[in-house]
């Protein structure tokens, strides 16, 4: 089962919730930090990262001896990453999404693909025996999605029974890519106008992808009650509330997971995981 923890708004507690769920998930859990622009789950899980692989996108390379400048590649490229101007075929690496359309559709077979490294995958085990992996986009590279895609494809060390994927903040392509293929979207929000605004966006993505969703209200007690009203109106279950507590923030600032700081939350996260599993099983029941 694959659970994605997303939020829309940044700083609502995605990683706090994702790492806590992973820690109550038992032996065969794999946790992926898909926030490849700023992965931080390792700060709380403390894995030994001893696996490493360079990843990126396949960039087209044009053989000038074979190219007839017919323009087919430029015509099929949705990103204007390859252009035919006069007797020149230009490739703009920073626009390329690595989709391969130009290579496959070149009538002359003049295009070959070459890996352009834009990031790395790192993985290893934690002291609790949890498998962890993360992607890390190189500074200056604009596209997170290919790294997330490769992270999700990276073969696990052992077959996981439960996967927890910590999504990036926002509601754009990297979040969509993380959610793709998930069995459940756990949406962490805070009861503030910003939290609600961004929650609505990520609920829209989960619905478009037809992924069942539930909500965690973090820092419960601050702000207003509009998140509750929205969830009730939309039929979104609120599966857990985490009150605003200074000791949790202090622990996180010291690199301690929520469960290390506040072991009294362990039953609540076990119940959260069970509730998600029940919902997913009900969803796929014949």
């Amino acid at each position: 089962m694959r659970i994605v923890v997303a939020s829309g708004k940044g700083g609502t507690g995605k990683t706090t919730v994702a790492t806590s769920l992973a820690l109550v998930g038992g032996a065969s859990v794999r946790c992926l930090d898909c926030d490849v622009e700023a992965p931080n789950a390792a700060l709380f899980l403390h894995p030994v990262l001893d696996r490493r692989q360079e990843v990126g996108i396949p960039l087209p390379r044009v053989d000038t001896a074979l190219c007839t400048h017919c323009g087919k590649c430029a015509e099929v490229c949705q990103y204007h990453a390859i252009a035919v101007l006069g007797q020149t075929t230009l490739v703009f690496p920073e626009l390329c999404h690595g989709c391969g359309s130009c290579t496959r559709l070149c009538p002359e077979g003049a295009i070959t693909e070459h890996l352009h490294v834009t990031g790395v995958l790192e993985g290893g085990m934690t002291a609790e025996g949890l498998e962890f992996a993360r992607g890390l986009l190189q500074v200056g590279e604009p596209m997170a999605v290919p790294i997330i895609r490769e992270l999700k494809r990276w073969p696990p060390l052992r077959r996981p029974a439960l996967e927890i994927w910590d999504a990036p903040p926002g509601a754009s392509c990297p979040v969509v890519e993380t959610l793709r293929g998930a069995d459940f979207a756990l949406l962490v929000t805070e009861p503030t106008p910003f939290g609600l605004h961004d929650l609505k966006q990520v609920v829209g993505i989960a619905r478009a992808l037809e992924i069942p969703a539930g909500v965690v209200v973090n820092r419960d007690g601050i702000g207003d009650r509009k998140v509750d009203a929205y969830c009730a109106d939309q039929g979104l279950p609120i599966l857990l509330r985490i009150p605003m507590e200074r000791r949790i923030a202090e622990g996180l600032a010291r690199g301690r997971s929520l469960l290390e700081t506040a072991p009294d939350y362990r039953p609540a996260f076990q119940a959260l995981l069970a509730a998600i599993q029940d919902r997913v099983n009900a969803e796929y029941a014949p």
Binding site: Y79, H80, A83, V84, L85, G86, L90, F92, E94, L95
Partner: protein, 121 residues
């Protein structure tokens, strides 16, 4: 010579648009006869690569020169590859495409020798 001027409108009296890739339209003018046609810029709503797309479009129009106010790195590389001269007209005063054409014909416009701004994502 066929010349393209970036414009915010649909005719020779339309205001000059100092942006190249994100101009609303292009006015294609024959600098010898004064005959002109207007063409909506297909790159206006592009998510990225507007300069490349606009450059391919004006190359397809058969232009040998462009007048705009700024060229990003990818527009510059594309127009250079197509052998299209890039002229610069200042965007700081209101001008029509016809005004810009007059400046061009008077030889008062300089040519861009490199990209004039950083690319935007």
């Amino acid at each position: 010579m066929k010349l393209v001027i970036s414009i915010a409108g649909d005719n020779l009296q339309s205001p000059f648009d100092a942006r190249f890739g994100r101009a609303a339209a292009f006015c294609l003018v024959d600098s010898d006869t004064g005959a002109w046609t207007a063409h909506a810029n297909p790159a206006l709503e592009a998510a990225g690569g507007a300069g490349v797309q606009a450059a391919q479009f004006v190359a397809g129009l058969g232009a040998r020169a462009v007048v705009s106010g700024a060229y990003g790195p990818k527009a510059y590389a594309s127009l250079s590859a197509a052998g299209i001269a890039m002229h610069l007209a200042p965007g700081n005063a209101p001008r029509t495409a016809a005004d810009v054409l007059a400046l061009f014909n008077a030889g008062e416009l300089s040519q861009a020798q490199a990209a004039t701004q950083d690319g935007r994502h």
